[in-house]
Amino acid sequence: MNLKKIYKYGSPPNFYRFAMKLEPWCLSLGLFLTAIGSIGGLFIAPKDYQMGDAFRIIYFHVPSAYLSMSAYAAMGIASIIGIVWRSNVAFAVAKSIAPFGALMTAVALITGMLWGKPMWGTAWVWDARLTSEFILLLLYFGYIALHATIKEQKRADRAASLLAILGIVNLPIIHYSVVWWNTLHQASTISKLDSPSIVGEMLWPLLLMIIGYMIFFIGVICRGGSAEVLMREKRSNWVKEV
């Protein structure tokens, strides 16, 4: 049955082998696409008539924001798999995603602030997206802190996973509430922020960057996940053979 096959794939040594094979491809492809996207975005795409060169930050801001949320979703799914199927590999993957996700969130926030300066005149504004992103950073920190504070690994895994699952349920609520609160305060900013119609010449580097980041992310999951699995199973036989 297919389920049995997936179960077998989910065992630590198999995951390790699979991840180690996949990783270099993802990392290099991701870097490659990101490099092309960056060049395209920084140099080739034309200047925005409203913002000039400053808008180019979008090429780093959007992918990292997008990735910060996908990473949390991935972390949540891995946590669910870990708890429901008691999979150590899933827990290891979830744990390794967290720092990267937090980093992406921080990058999104910082690039957002850098973008904000020319756009709104101030670095920070309590607009819906920045606020939600900041809260996302707190959610990541909570997860990482829980893992760091609880000494026994199995307990830390399950506790942090529970937190991640709660976070996933909460993310839409948090986002909705912040957006709602924001529409009452700063309708004007949102219409400025939205870039609904973006010209093709500006679009392709953006798409490339997003895809590049995603693929790189998969590579990071492979690397981080396999490192984590290795650490956890260090006493078992198959690790000694590696």
Partner: protein
Amino acid sequence: MNIYFQLFSREIRVAFKRWTDALTGFILFFLIAILFPLISDSNKEFLLTIVGPIMMFSAFFASMLSMQNMFKPDFQNGTIEQLMLSKGSFVSLILTKTIAYWLFTSLPLILISGLTASIYFVSASGILIIQLTLLLSTLTMVHINAFTAAITLGIRYPGALMTLIITPITLPILIFGSKTIENSILGADISGPLYFLTGMMMLSFFLGPWITASALKISMD
């Protein structure tokens, strides 16, 4: 006698013995609410603007103070394990415990909020809305606090970690709660945020005990 009623009366009895726990939160709530007008601009318009956020924030903070003691004493004396072995559903027992805890720690806040809100020049009807908002919000927050206390059980100095965990989850409640109060003072429609608060409260009653029970089981191993 019904198991849940037995547990409930025991919790109330014990809460009376541990009255200093509830007192800390109560005093903090009261103090924050009183100090603000004293140390800031005390003109009516300003105070009416900030009473919403202040009420919500002080309720939040007060509940955070006492939440460490929700499960810790029972963890130390082995009562939680006994509850797990009980013939009743563990989840429902946790719900019972949570409600008893709420009665003892949050209800006094709601009652005194009438007094503190009047310092901010809030009208009588406004006070009722504030109390209603606090009622809904604290009923929701108590479940979040229970979960946070449960999941950090056994950690030696969990204070900062608890704050980190609890803030993002509680934020929507704080936002909508303060908006409800603000709207009522301005005379605007409060049904929107109020419905949201009610929805959150009901959701937390369904999910809260279950997720707290799961957290307790994880912490107990």
